[in-house]
């Protein structure tokens, strides 16, 4: 039976019939496929573009209002982030076009899926196919943007407007339609809240040394930036230049890492014609942060879609939803305490891979729910049912097969390259659902599961860094990354949102005993609870079993926060309704006469207890932005002083100041190399002699000598030779540094002769060496050594 099915699938997947329909043409030595394009029927197109026929599509019904709310919130976030970035750079080199472009790109990801879904929906209320669901289309838009980025890289044309303009138009349409449906006060509050929340996110993402609007200026002043972005972008640079994932500090041996995010952002950077590091500080926050929160709320909307409709209330006016969202993100206890309990907000925002992987994960789950709601799922579920002969429609079968055999494995692969933890969690979810619903017995699902496992197994060794695995170490994360004395609170408080959801659901379904719980599990009535718990448990375990370097276990354990949050948001309405009903039935609400004597003591108590948490939330929301503003002013003051003094917004003063910063000549020289033609860079390796102290001593002040090597490959996009840190510097085992051999002796004159360099370059596969060395007055000069083939 299974063999027969496999044969059928193989026949369906056989490309030969398709290839027979393709016309081949010869281009140079190779054959290029040219699909046979049918002649366009313009009359049909004219008919379809008739405004009278299109009008019904340009409307947003009640069913889409919440989705539009998400889009509007996201668009506001991207605009605010763009504006803040631009405002932060006033006085420095500050073109407005890239900012507008990334805002447009963000809108493309946020708004386009809504309208694509709307168009595919037609006059129906329900989306027929999972592939036409908003989450799936959002994933498609992310992929589209990456493809445009590849195209931009290949053609050296900044293609951002091609995406930003449609994105902007769709966003504008959404906002206009959304505002027309609005009640003034709730809309105003929502918009105001969005702006406030975005300012907080801006503070978090730009309040660290990882990313900041004045990134280059900070770097050039005294090198006081974190080394992680250099690590990520060194790999993406090597991928761009040589097609190899490597950190490129002494040749380009393959590195194992989840470099998908770095690759993706580099592609997006090409869209606006900038480099990866600049994009990290501008494009990444503006595009990904709105997408992150939009994906969470979108998942909540997808979940709400399967709940009874009476529980729903317009998202924009549902203050409870937003209260939960800000409480879970900004935090109800001081930031220091959150950090102490390993609830690291900063890490969420500064880890690009995590911040992009989580929304992708959420969107995959959202698409999964759309699939589950569709006829395609029913086709799969009915497959093989005893005593029933089901013959599903071919379209449903196609939809199911594409989801099971293409979408899920592909997404796992993608998640693996974005963030390993998310791949493993997603795989766990897939396997668990298939097991719990008994779907694994269906041949199509069985095949899909096998594919998923194989894809994950093959991806894992490519993206896992062996050095990060410190071996078995019970309760490692709890012991070493939670503040001393507070370890026992970790399971309770770190997973608090998971517990809140589980408790809420138990309360909702009146599950109070183990027997009732058993019954609910057996009847699959609380599969959602099981999934939330599964993500929490599977995310919790790695850090408690294994020592994962640098606190990276948080990227496993933190996922449950966002996952549970989406589920809580989806249920808030139901819970509130039930709570009201209980209160009403118990006649707890006394008929108030309106005087102070009728103020309930329980209300006073609630206010007294809740007030510190609310105040803290407000203080937390201010702390990060305050830090950014202070850092910005301090940097401007210092640069202005170097520039001869004057206003800290005066472009001339700042320009002079920047030109006098310590690393301005070095950074300029490295960025000049990055602007060389690709062919030239591809053939070259970069060499910086150890005598160039400005470079090799860049991070000495805070004892980070081991990371200096990453700077040149990252900024210049050219691999180095003999670029290991100076002799005597303790080389870290992390960051794929163990791919190279540490220096056993200081560099000597014989090591830097043309012959010696060429030998090394040729051995590493390069035909030229670019030497960057200071002249007599310390200005770096570039020279070229041709090494032949």
């Amino acid at each position: 039976m299974l063999a027969e099915k496999v044969r059928q699938v193989a026949a369906r997947l056989d490309p030969r019939p398709l290839l027979r329909r393709v016309e081949w043409r010869r281009v140079g030595k190779r054959l290029d496929p040219r699909p046979i394009v049918r002649r366009v029927d313009w009359s049909k197109l004219r008919t379809s573009l008739d405004p009278r026929r299109l009008r019904p599509y340009f409307s947003l019904g009640d069913d889409l209002d919440d989705r539009a709310t998400v889009v509007v919130g996201g668009c506001i976030a991207s605009m605010v982030l763009g504006a803040l970035y631009w405002a932060s750079r006033i006085g420095f080199d500050n073109p407005v076009t890239p900012v507008l472009e990334v805002v447009g790109m963000s809108m493309f990801i946020l708004a386009t899926p809504l309208w694509l879904m709307r168009f595919s929906q037609g006059s129906r209320v329900v989306v027929a196919h999972w592939s036409a669901s908003q989450p799936a289309l959002m994933l498609l838009c992310i992929a589209l943007m990456a493809m445009f980025g590849m195209l931009a890289h290949a053609t050296s044309v900044a293609l951002a407007p091609w995406l930003a303009i449609p994105g902007g138009v769709f966003a504008l349409l959404t906002i206009v339609f959304w505002l027309r449906r609005a009640r003034v006060i709730s809309t105003f509050l929502y918009l105001l809240g969005s702006v406030w929340f975005t300012v907080w996110t801006a503070g978090v993402v730009w309040g660290s040394r990882y990313k900041m609007p004045l990134y280059w200026e900070t770097f050039m002043l005294r090198g006081d930036v974190h080394h992680d972005p250099f690590y990520m972008t060194s790999m993406s640079s090597m991928l761009e230049t040589y097609g190899v994932a490597s950190i490129g500090i002494d040749g380009i041996p393959v590195a194992h890492y989840h470099y998908g995010a770095a690759w993706l952002f580099t592609k997006w950077a090409h869209l606006i014609g900038t480099d990866a590091l600049s994009f990290y500080s501008l494009g990444y926050p503006v595009i990904v942060i709105p997408a992150f929160f939009a994906a969470i709320v979108l998942l909540a909307i997808e979940i709400r879609g399967v709940l009874p409709p009476e529980s729903e209330r317009a998202l924009r006016s549902d203050y409870r939803v937003w209260l939960v969202l800000v409480a879970a993100t900004i935090g109800l206890i001081p930031t220091d305490a959150l950090d102490g309990l390993a609830i690291w907000n900063a890490n969420v925002f500064i880890s690009e891979s995590y911040l992009i992987a989580v929304p992708v994960f959420m969107l995959v789950v959202g698409a999964g729910i759309a699939f589950w709601k569709s006829d395609a799922y029913r086709a799969v579920a009915a497959e093989g049912s005893e005593g029933v002969e089901v013959q599903p429609a071919r379209t449903q079968q196609t939809a199911a097969m594409s989801f099971l055999l293409a979408f899920l494995p592909l997404m796992l692969l993608l998640l693996g390259f974005l963030k390993l933890s998310l791949m493993l969690l997603c795989l766990s979810l897939i396997l668990y659902i298939a097991f719990r619903l008994g779907l694994w017995r269906r041949w199509s699902v069985g095949l899909s599961l096998a594919l998923c496992v194989i894809v994950s197994a093959l991806t894992y060794p490519v993206v896992a860094v062996a050095a990060q695995n410190g071996g078995i170490s019970p309760f490692n994360f709890m012991r070493y990354d939670v503040a001393e004395g507070w370890q026992q609170f970790f399971p309770l408080l770190n997973l608090i949102w998971t517990w809140v959801y589980i408790a809420g659901r138990f309360w909702e379904d009146r599950i109070t005993t183990a027997r009732e719980l058993g019954l609910a599990i057996r009847s699959a009535a609380i599969l959602d609870v099981e999934l939330v718990f599964l993500v929490a448990l599977v995310g919790f375990l790695p850090g408690e079993l294994v020592s994962i370097h640098g606190g990276s276990a948080v990227y496993f354990s933190d996922v449950q926060r966002w996952f549970a949050l989406a589920f809580i948001i989806s249920r808030v309405g139901t819970w509130a309704r039930k709570w009201r009903a209980i209160r009403h039935s118990q006649a707890l609400r006394a008929q108030p006469s309106g005087g102070w004597r009728d103020v309930r003591l329980s209300t006073i108590l609630r206010v007294f207890v809740a007030a510190p948490f609310v105040i803290t939330l407000l203080l937390n929301s201010i702390n990060w932005p305050k830090r950014v503003v202070r850092a910005n002013i301090a940097l401007r003051t210092e640069i202005a002083t170097k520039g001869g003094g004057g206003l800290i917004t005066d472009p001339r003063v700042l320009k002079r100041g920047v030109a006098r910063t310590t690393y301005y000549p070095l950074v300029t020289a490295l960025r000049d190399i990055a602007s060389l033609p690709l062919e030239e860079r591809r053939a070259s390796a970069l060499f910086i002699p150890q005598t160039y102290r400005d470079y090799w001593g860049m991070f000495d002040s805070d004892e980070r000598c081991t990371y200096v090597s990453l700077v040149a490959p990252s900024v210049s996009t050219v691999a180095m030779i003999d670029g290991m840190p100076a002799y005597g510097c303790k080389v870290t085992e992390q960051y794929n540094m163990s791919s190279y051999t540490p220096r056993r002796r200081p560099q000597v004159a014989a090591d830097i002769t043309s012959d010696a360099l060429c030998r090394k370059a040729r051995a590493a596969g390069f035909s030229e060496v670019l030497v960057l060395a200071p002249d007599k007055i310390g200005v770096p000069r570039r020279s070229r050594i041709a090494c032949g083939s």
């Binding site: 001081p334 930031t335 220091d336 305490a337 503040a483 001393e484 004395g485 507070w486 026992q488 609170f489 399971p491 309770l492 517990w499 408790a503 138990f506 599950i511 109070t512 005993t513 183990a514 027997r515 009732e516 719980l517 006394a590 005087g595 102070w596 004597r597 009728d598 103020v599 309930r600 003591l601 329980s602 006073i604 108590l605 007294f608 207890v609 007030a611 510190p612 948490f613 105040i615 803290t616 203080l619």
Partner: protein, 708 residues
């Protein structure tokens, strides 16, 4: 506690007698009131404030202090017979209690009390304020807290000269709450301790049980008064301990609340950040003594009121009722001022508020007592409050100084946690749901306890939020509400807090509650070990530092090393070679002089004697070096102010003396100059101390005669 002290000194000069004497004094203080109460009960079932357990306890304290005060006058101490009786009484009571409670409860109580004592021992000896090895630490490197030295100095001045003074340059009166040093001096007389020993050994062994015993005694008295008031005849109910609906035993809930309130449910770092300090209540002797005394006074007042005292308002009060209102209560409040000012102020305000709420001021005798008590407090205040401590208005001073900004919003919630719990549970018990209900209950006088708790909480927190009070001492105002509300909560455990249900694994709500409670329980367990381990680590570190250098390399640091650090010979050698050994021992030897001789003698240590002036080595400790002679030798210094250039603390009575404006010159050291100074300060002899290279003291007495 005594055993822990003794064990902590293993390997050092460790005579068991001081420890036994300290334990015996504790037994006298704890057993006597209970014994007398039992004897009274055998004669009559009537209960009244005079025969109440709490008042008997206060009287025991007063009696023992009085006995100590008489000792130098009569030249005889009744300590041995008293200790013998107390020990026998303790054994009798223990056997009787065990017989009634069963062996399981006895063993459980014994184990629990022992474990709790290890925690208290850790708290009191886990910081550098007090230590079983205090003298050894002083001898080793002088790294001891100046509080221990300065307070011992004041107590010694009280003992020798009967004047509260730091004794740095004569003995001017120091306006300070010197009640505890004075009491300690009297008890030292009674039991034969020197004051340094008293602060390090006897205070923890006697006063910490008094602190917790006082809270529990208050809880038991309040238990009848507030929560069993439905009983028609309180005076019988007290004595008989009956009542069908009343379970007199202290169940698990009682002890759970007690442990949670004392040891804490949150990690220590969290409590510290919120200004809820667990260690301060045991390192501040005055607070440790004043709190139980205040609670016992309050208990007595409650008993007075419940057992006929309210007749005063009807004009039919008995003489003993008027005695209480006119003498005992005012005297008690004023005495609290000498123990801890905060408690006097809170006590007065509490008494006035309750009297006002009960309409007692409509009766002129009570009103008169109120006015007189207020006047007495006003007169007492300047005598017990150091002028240097009155540093003016600084809004939110306590928060600014001791609570990180991020945690300010939580300050009231956590600071008032126990008060809040009590108020909520009591209002729930009374069925109050709205503000109107609250007002109605208050008007009916049914929640006077709640009002009192709210008053003490609000008034207690105010000084720290308005005034600058040095060293976080505002805590001693704001913390009082904790013990008042905990005492009341313990009193109402049986009725306020639902009984702990039987554990059922199948009940998910119970599992959830247990899951949430688990980290708090673990925190409590960790807290209970925190201070003890800190004490042991400090003990180990001191021993290790005394060991020969050659041996140290083979011994790891920390608690595990203790087993290897008990060699008496090596420790003695280490001490003998320590820089402060001879100076400290020499000064202790001076303390052996007769009281009469000490009373007429002042000690002078020239500024050139570095061996003395550098005994204390903690940062900024130069300001406190002058206290070492008064603390160890029990004699006042003359010209003992710190050297020029030393940053002086305005506190500890240092500001009573003029600051040194120029270095000491040879003229200042001449016998003539010294004698002039000594005579003007009331001394007849000057003992000039000089230290040789090994630190041995060369005493040069100078007799000073006033010219006729």
């Amino acid at each position: 506690m005594a055993a822990i002290y003794w064990l902590a000194r293993t390997g050092f000069d460790n005579s068991p007698w001081p420890v036994v004497r300290a334990a015996a004094l504790a037994l006298i203080l704890i057993d006597t009131p209970y014994l007398i109460r039992m004897l009274i009960r055998k004669r009559t079932l009537e209960y009244g404030w005079v025969t109440s357990y709490s008042f008997l306890w206060l009287m025991t304290i007063a009696f023992t202090v009085g006995a100590g005060w008489l000792v130098p006058k009569i030249g005889f101490t009744p300590f041995i017979p008293l200790a013998g009786v107390a020990t026998v009484a303790f054994l009798v009571l223990l056997i009787d209690w065990a017989r009634h409670s069963g062996w399981k409860a006895t063993v459980a109580m014994f184990v629990a009390a022992s474990l709790f004592s290890t925690w208290t021992a850790g708290v009191v000896w886990g910081r550098i304020y007090k230590s079983p090895l205090f003298l050894e630490m002083m001898i080793l490197d002088g790294k001891v807290h100046h509080d221990g030295v300065s307070l011992a100095a004041v107590a010694n001045m009280l003992r020798t000269y009967h004047v509260p003074s730091p004794g740095l340059d004569g003995i001017p009166y120091m306006a300070y709450h010197w009640g505890t040093p004075w009491m300690f001096a009297q008890w030292s007389n009674l039991a034969g301790f020197n004051l340094t020993e008293f602060y390090q050994l006897v205070f923890p062994v006697t006063m910490i049980p008094l602190f917790f015993g006082g809270i529990i005694a208050f809880a038991l008295e309040a238990r009848y008064a507030i929560f069993q008031r439905r009983m028609a005849d309180m005076s019988v109910a007290y004595s008989a301990g009956h009542g069908a609906e009343f379970d007199p035993r202290l169940g698990p809930s009682f002890w759970l609340v007690f442990l949670a309130a004392t040891i804490g449910l949150m990690p220590i770092t969290g409590m510290d950040a919120l200004g809820v300090w667990t260690s301060n209540l045991m390192i501040s002797e005055s607070y440790t003594v004043a709190t139980p005394v205040a609670l016992l006074l309050l208990s007595t007042t409650i008993v007075f009121w419940q057992c006929g005292g309210d007749e005063i308002l009807k004009g039919s009060g008995r003489p003993k009722d008027y005695l209480f209102v006119a003498i005992v209560l005012p005297a008690g409040i004023v005495a609290l001022g000498y123990l801890k000012i905060s408690l006097m102020i809170l006590g007065l305000l509490g008494a006035l508020y309750v009297a006002a709420r009960l309409g007692a001021f409509r009766k002129w005798p009570v009103a008169l007592v109120g006015v007189i008590t207020t006047l007495l407090v006003v007169l007492t205040y300047p005598r017990v409050s150091l002028a240097a401590h009155r540093e003016g208005i600084v809004p939110l001073d306590f928060l600014k100084g001791f609570v990180p900004l991020d945690w300010w919003p939580y300050f009231f919630l956590f600071q008032f946690f126990w008060s809040l719990v009590y108020v909520v549970l009591r209002l729930r018990q009374e069925g109050a749901r709205t503000l109107g209900d609250f007002v109605t209950l208050a008007k009916a006088g049914r929640i006077l306890d709640v009002e009192l708790v709210i008053l003490v909480a609000l008034v207690g927190v105010a000084p720290g939020l308005v005034l600058h009070i040095d060293g976080g001492s505002a805590f001693y105002f704001s913390d009082v509400q904790r013990w008042l509300s905990v005492g009341l909560l313990l009193a109402g455990v049986g009725t306020l807090i639902p009984r702990l249900p039987r554990w059922r694994w199948s009940d998910l709500r119970m599992v959830a509650v247990a899951f949430v409670a688990l980290p708090f329980a673990i925190s409590m367990a960790r807290n209970s070990f925190h201070w003890t381990s800190r004490m042991l680590r400090a003990n180990s570190a001191t021993r290790l530092a005394l060991y020969p250098v050659a041996d140290r390399a083979a011994i790891p640091e920390g608690i595990r090393a203790l087993r290897q650090l008990g060699d008496p010979v090596k420790l003695a050698t280490g001490l003998a070679n320590a820089p402060n050994n001879n100076p400290v021992r020499g000064l202790l030897g001076l303390g052996e002089l007769s009281p009469e001789s000490k009373r007429t003698t002042a000690v002078f240590v020239p500024q050139s004697e570095d061996r003395y002036w550098t005994i204390l080595t903690r940062p900024n400790s130069c300001a406190f070096s002058g206290f070492v002679v008064p603390a160890l030798a029990g004699m006042s210094m003359i010209d003992g102010m710190p050297p020029v250039g030393c940053t002086l603390s305005p506190y500890y009575g240092i500001s009573l003396y003029p600051k040194r404006t120029r270095p000491q010159t040879p003229e200042d050291e001449t016998p003539g100059t010294l004698c002039r100074r000594a005579l003007s300060l009331g001394f007849k002899r000057v003992l000039t101390l000089r230290f040789d290279e090994s630190g041995k003291i060369d005493k040069q007495p100078t007799e000073c005669l006033r010219k006729k």
